[in-house]
Amino acid sequence: MDLNVQRRSLIGAGLLSAGAWLGQRFSQGAIAQEPASGTAPPHTGGMTTIGEINHENNGFDPYALLTEWNTGKVSTLPGGQRLREYDIAAIEREIEVAPGVFYPAWTYNGQVPGPTIRATEGDRIRIRFTNQGEHMHTLHFHGMHGARQDGIPGVLEAAPGQSVTYEFEAKPFGCHLYHCHSMPFKRHLHKGLYGAFIIDPDPSQHPEQAEAAKSRVLGTAENQRWQELLMVMNAFDTNFDEENEVYAINSIPHAFMKKPIRIERDRPVRIYLINVTEFDPINSFHLHANFFDYYDHGTTLTPTSRTIDTVMQCQGQRGILEFSFADFEPGLYMFHPHQAEFVELGWMSAFEVVA
């Protein structure tokens, strides 16, 4: 395992391209996803949003977000512990949440979901958080840490213009998230302040399941085989009536229907799935024509559910899905929540399996 490669961390929008570059450079995960083309989505029967989103203007691309792992600026502490440093800014800006529909979002580094933080179990994480907005904001991590690092009102909460630094050890391994915990809570969440926090297991701490652990560690030979994808199930309440108008993964409705995610048939697929949908108590993930193993919260190396094709997550719940299309007929395989309501409001996607 070679993680002493020089990595860069850039502030703000620069982080996006750096992340994409790093993702391609070091993880070689899923096939690099290119921006959507202008072709009409197949298999929708007219039930779709119309028009195209300019992802460049929007500051983020849902395709790029699938494989953008931000591993931070890496160095070694005197005790031998690896340190990962990040810069994250709260930026209040308008984003296009459906073609032609503009939403006054609150973002981390200008994107929704925020940058995906990826570390290894036992790493030291240091995050300089700058509030560039006009409201109070925090970073609250789902992970193990002391009360003084919790990122709640009064604890490392950044006032407008202020910076605070969070520091804690990355544990437990799994698929986690971070979000703003300022009040009013619901508004800070549904306006877009959330992101993925993925901790890869340290194989040396799991000798009995070393192979499984290694396959999860970004950059290892065992990991290269996998096509890893980040999917944050989210939604937007564009008219502020406490009900969502738009549902998606990685924010943009029908994005992966208009241009399906390309999957190499013979390489296994791992999805880091996170539900941050507000107002609706649950969201779900259903895969067509195939079954998957599921690791709830990703905190185990053996599946918590085997051979299922639908999994349900409550608000803030997440997990890891593993499956393979080996020996399958190449073609289009849909995936979507099994709440038809969310499907019809944008959370409809497909894999394009290629031989």
Binding site: T48, A98, V101, F236, T238, E344, L345
Partner: protein
């Protein structure tokens, strides 16, 4: 020097407007409020192509419909013209949606600001196509609720002819009661329709203003020779007022029938016939002392009853709420004028005849008129 006094106001006005456009107080206040938006569906057409909606925008800036949801699902749609819809203009949206006959559909428009505007199709039914057979069928419907009952009511003329002085006063008072009912009914109908019009049209004010102007104009025309209309002239005004009311009734029936909100069974048609019969009685009441020629009879019946046919046609094929509100306002004004003139006529009759207990007869008559109209309306209100 004098010229300046005349030129000053327009020059100042132009200057102030120019100033507003260059240094707007809104910009000075540095307010970055989102534009005001308002969207109204004026026409819904359901056919084999899907759903076609004519919408009117009344926003502070041209409005952009970014997406359309039907029954909680995004659907591809086509907008003509495709440009943002400027204030008070209309656009036509076609959605190839497989609507289900007899069921409700909820339509939601998402604008570029994320605002939503909802429209409900209560009962989905194919919109009547403009063809000879549908035009005839709707025309037939209009005749049934308008001309037929009014004509039947007028045919009661011989019965009224034998009445004495008190009986005549009673019938005139009954007509007044009937007209009072129609006035309230027409105003209500107009105000209700006005709510469906784009806010900028101020539909409810339109109803009141058109009623006021129509009433005053008809009084002025009616008395242009210095005296209040009587006899045949009064009947003509009454037929005009009732005709405008029946036009409104036709509009409501045509629209409701086409939208599937009204199942017009034979029961309801009988109801309309009974309800509008009284109108015919009222029209002939001022003519009881005169000879009535057939041609007058037919033209009065046509004036009062045929507008229902036009109403049904427009309601079914070319409905627009702001025009309907305007017409119903005019109708209310025309009825008010007739109430005033019939009231004065009744007053004169009672005074001329030096009738004892004139007020009692009037009260009994007008109450009976109201009661009949209210009672028969129980059959037809939907």
């Amino acid at each position: 020097m004098k010229v300046w006094r005349w030129l000053l106001p327009p020059i100042l006005l132009a200057g102030v407007i120019a100033l507003l456009f260059t240094v707007s107080p809104v910009r000075l206040l540095n307010l970055n409020a989102p534009p005001l938006e308002s969207l109204q569906v004026e026409r819904t057409i359901l056919n084999t192509e899907g759903i076609t909606l004519q919408v009117r925008a009344a926003g502070s800036e041209p409005m952009q419909i970014a997406q359309v949801q039907i029954d909680g699902a995004y659907w591809a749609f086509d907008q003509q013209p495709p440009t943002p819809i400027s204030r008070l203009s209309t656009a036509t949206l076609t959605v190839p949606y497989p609507w289900v006959e007899g069921e409700a559909h909820h339509i939601r428009f998402l604008t570029n600001t994320g605002m939503t505007f909802d429209h409900i199709i209560d009962v989905a039914l194919a919109t009547p196509k403009f063809s000879t057979s549908t035009v005839l069928a709707y025309g037939w419907l209009g005749l049934y609720v308008g001309l037929v009952p009014v004509g039947l009511g007028m045919l009661c003329y011989p019965y009224l002819k034998v009445l004495g002085q008190r009986g005549l006063s009673f019938i005139l008072a009954l007509t007044l009661g009937m007209l009072a009912f129609l006035l309230i009914d027409t105003l209500q109908e107009g105000l209700e329709l006005a709510r469906d019009a784009a806010i900028a049209f101020q539909g409810q004010a339109l109803v009141w203003f058109s009623a006021g102007v129509a009433c005053l104009a008809l009084i002025a025309i009616g008395r242009r020779q210095g005296k209040s209309p009587e006899g045949h002239t009064l009947s003509t005004y009454m037929a005009l007022g009732i005709g405008l009311h029946n036009f409104g009734e036709g509009l409501a029936i045509g629209t409701a029938f086409a939208l599937g909100e009204l199942a017009l069974g034979s029961f309801l048609i009988v109801g309309f016939t009974l309800h509008n019969l009284t109108e015919g009685l009222g029209i002939v009441a001022p003519l009881l002392k005169q000879k009535l020629r057939w041609i007058e009879f037919v033209s009065l019946a046509a004036l009062a009853g045929l507008p229902a046919v036009a109403g049904v046609w427009i309601g079914a094929f070319a409905f627009s709420p702001q025009w309907a509100a305007l017409f119903l306002g005019l109708g209310a004004g025309a009825i008010l004028q007739v109430i005033i003139e019939v009231g004065r006529y009744l007053q004169r009759k009672i005074r001329q005849a030096q009738q004892a207990n004139g007020s009692g007869v009037s009260l009994a008559g007008s109450t009976t008129g109201l009661a009949i109209m209210y009672g028969t309306a129980l059959l037809v209100k939907f």
